[in-house]
Amino acid sequence: MDYFFTEQQQMIIDTAREITNEKIIPVRAELDEKNQFPREILQDIAKADLFSIFIPEEYGGLGGGCFEVVLALEELARGCVGVATSFAASALGIFPVLLAGSEEQKQKYLPEIASGTRWAAFGLTEASAGSDASGIRTIAVEDGDSWVLNGTKQWITNGGESQIYAIVALTDPSKGPRGASIFVVEDGDPGFSYGKKEDKMGIRSSSTRELIMKDCRIPKDRLVGRRGTGFITVMKTLDMSRPGIASLGIGLAQAALDEAVTYAKQRVQFDKPIISFQAVQHMLADMAIQLEAGRALVYAAAKHIDNHPKDMSKVSSMCKVFATDMAMKVTTDAVQVLGGSGYMKEYPVEKMMRDAKILQIYEGTNQIQRNVVGQELNKEYS
């Protein structure tokens, strides 16, 4: 379908596609097998200016919005969701600065992110705080010219690989949701270290690690936004980033569909290519229909968010749920179309199916997303 991209948008798609075809696809199976972080590919992505897409022009970026990020992520995810996640996590980690940071913070961090010389990560989840963010135990205490942080973050994407971390910590535990704040913690800060590295089912090339803050002392000016506004910034950050996760589902499903159709055309059984059997055709047709519906929703949601920054929760959650549930279904069906071959590591679809599962879980489970949509509906109809 023609989505009438602007020249710049088409350029972003082409560039991300070249990265995927030339740098990601040839090595994705190996990265997956070895659990290896795609450092070199992220450097290639940086050289291609893709990290600068969503950074405003005054900070060395291209000034694009959510839609542009979605387009780039979709293409990267067509190659490998692990790599695309590592890229997306850096955007997620810098969104708090972009949304709520001071001018000084923006000038300090955004140009580095735009050029890809440093990467970011977002530290929200803890052992006791998954879907329920109010379970956070990490504490930040003011001490003279510093903040001192104590606590452990869990399952942090890009942990140990990024240099800049947005850490959510409680500054006033008694105030509940109003008591959280966001801080920038940098690699090498005293008292900041990395813990357990996870061994995952899918997106194995991405790094998922513990962040440990033990009397971690950082300068006062690392507080992002006003004290106590942390949760508001977290919600806005996730609203901005969810269409990105949705677009990973789109790219992944596209890759699975491509593999399934290609295979179905060349695999011969009963003297015919299996694509000539209606049972297979219908599966492929359903995959294509759901994929295109998902893509249209994600694009529309991203454009909506770029134009209505104050009203994005519902569309953001809707597109994340739809596109990632769709990706799970389409990748599962792709394995089915490839049959025994699909189950073997020799073909890429088993990895796609493993990678798909996380999309329904991270950055807010699809159950939590449905809560958001439900609550918004309740508000709208009151």
Binding site: P26, V27, E346
Partner: protein, 396 residues
């Protein structure tokens, strides 16, 4: 430029379909050429109406071509040895010289090479031109080029042959440019046209999809490079005798700009696969670097070397010097066993001149089977171990 006779042109469109560059097309009732025209002449040959011709600036002859006589071979020396390709060049050089009724000379630059001259005479040379000096022990482009240029200018051979090796392909184009001679790279066939004694040089073009025959009608010497293993060396004849001429090298020709800091000879993983008569090649179908252990085992069993497709090299399973194909090496061994290689054109151009090709692939429709002398359809992980076992048995 291409001249189109609009009176003769019938706008039939044959020229259009004959042009590889999309440079000629029919507009209205006549063909029109564009800037993309390379004057290759394909359209001229194909025009049924003879409506096309190529007009060029009249070429002034550089010299009297009849002043040039004899066939000369550039002999390559490295690490105390003469490259096998040099004997192959003497083999074809001998044939060409005999057909022309002229002598065959061999130019040998090197550090301490005096003891090697006899082998060149035994292999067919009438004259060995010895350029011996410690500065020539290592290959330096500028020194080798100056000496070859000097020798060619003095001796005026009509044909100069060199190996299409790292050294040959590096220095010969420089020499040909310096003396204004035509040079054809990687010839697979060299023959003399009886009528006028012209050297016809045939070589693959467009990655081996097309063969082209080339001649140098107005310049001498006619220079050509030939890849290793393409020509056969002459049967050594110990009874042959020849003349050895020691070249006086002017001191200024021994002043090099190039500092050779180090020479690294690679072992195992950097063997020169072009020198082997048997190659066992692995491709994407190996699935992992581990697969090359099996390939190595088969190669060792056959006394051959290990080659690879680009997919295997790109995957990091084996280093680049093993790569065969358009962006790798071109090989022409006696036996080439392709294991798990699909046989894309890019690979085919690097190995299609092998004498016998064995393809082992589980996809019976893989294009490699079109190139194969013998094809085994099956999983290489079953076929290769079985093959190794049978080879060992047959050896007792």
């Amino acid at each position: 430029m291409l001249i189109i006779d609009s009176d003769k042109c019938t706008a039939c469109g044959v020229c259009e379909s004959s042009c590889a560059f999309g440079a000629i097309s029919v507009r209205g009732d006549c063909a029109v050429a564009s800037d993309s025209c390379t004057l290759c002449g394909a359209c001229v040959e194909n025009c049924p109406e003879h409506a096309l011709r190529i007009a060029t600036v009249e070429k002034q002859l550089q010299a009297d071509l009849s002043e040039y006589a004899g066939v000369m071979v550039f002999v390559e020396y490295r690490h105390g040895k003469i490259a096998p390709v040099s004997y192959e060049l003497l083999g074809i050089g001998r044939k060409l010289a005999d057909q022309r009724g002229v002598g065959l000379s061999a130019v040998l630059p090197g550090g301490s090479v005096g003891t090697l001259v006899q082998s060149l005479i035994v292999a067919g040379a009438d004259v060995v031109l010895l350029a011996e000096h410690p500065m020539l022990e290592q290959f330096r482009e500028d020194l080798y080029a100056s000496i070859l240029e000097m020798v060619i200018r003095e001796r005026r051979p009509e044909v100069v042959l060199a190996g299409a090796t790292s050294i040959g392909r590096s220095v010969i184009p420089y020499v040909a440019t310096a003396i204004g001679a035509g040079l054809t790279a990687d010839c697979t066939r060299l023959e003399i046209r009886k009528e006028d004694g012209m050297l016809l040089q045939t070589r693959p073009a467009f990655g081996g999809n097309i063969m082209a025959t080339i001649e140098c009608p107005q310049t001498r010497p006619q220079m050509a490079t030939v890849r290793p293993k393409v020509m056969a060396p002459a049967e050594p004849d110990a009874s042959r005798s020849g003349e050895v001429i020691r070249i006086q090298i002017p001191p200024e020709l021994l002043q090099s700009n190039i500092d050779v800091i180090e020479t690294v000879v690679n072992t195992e993983d950097h063997v020169n696969i072009q020198e082997f008569e048997t190659l066992v090649a692995g491709g994407r179908g190996l699935d992992s670097a581990k697969g090359f252990a099996l390939i190595r085992e088969l190669a060792a069993e056959l006394g051959g070397a290990v080659a690879a497709s680009r997919a295997a090299v790109d995957a990091g399973w084996i280093p680049y010097p093993h790569q065969v194909g358009q962006t790798g090496k071109t090989v022409s061994p006696k036996l080439y066993i392709a294991c798990g290689i699909s046989g894309a054109v890019q690979h085919a151009v690097g190995m299609q001149s092998a004498e016998i090709v064995v393809a082992i692939n589980r996809d019976k429709d893989a294009p490699i089977f079109d190139l194969a002398t013998y094809g085994v359809v099956g999983d290489l992980y079953e076929v290769v171990p079985r093959l190794i076992q049978r080879l060992q048995e047959s050896r007792g």
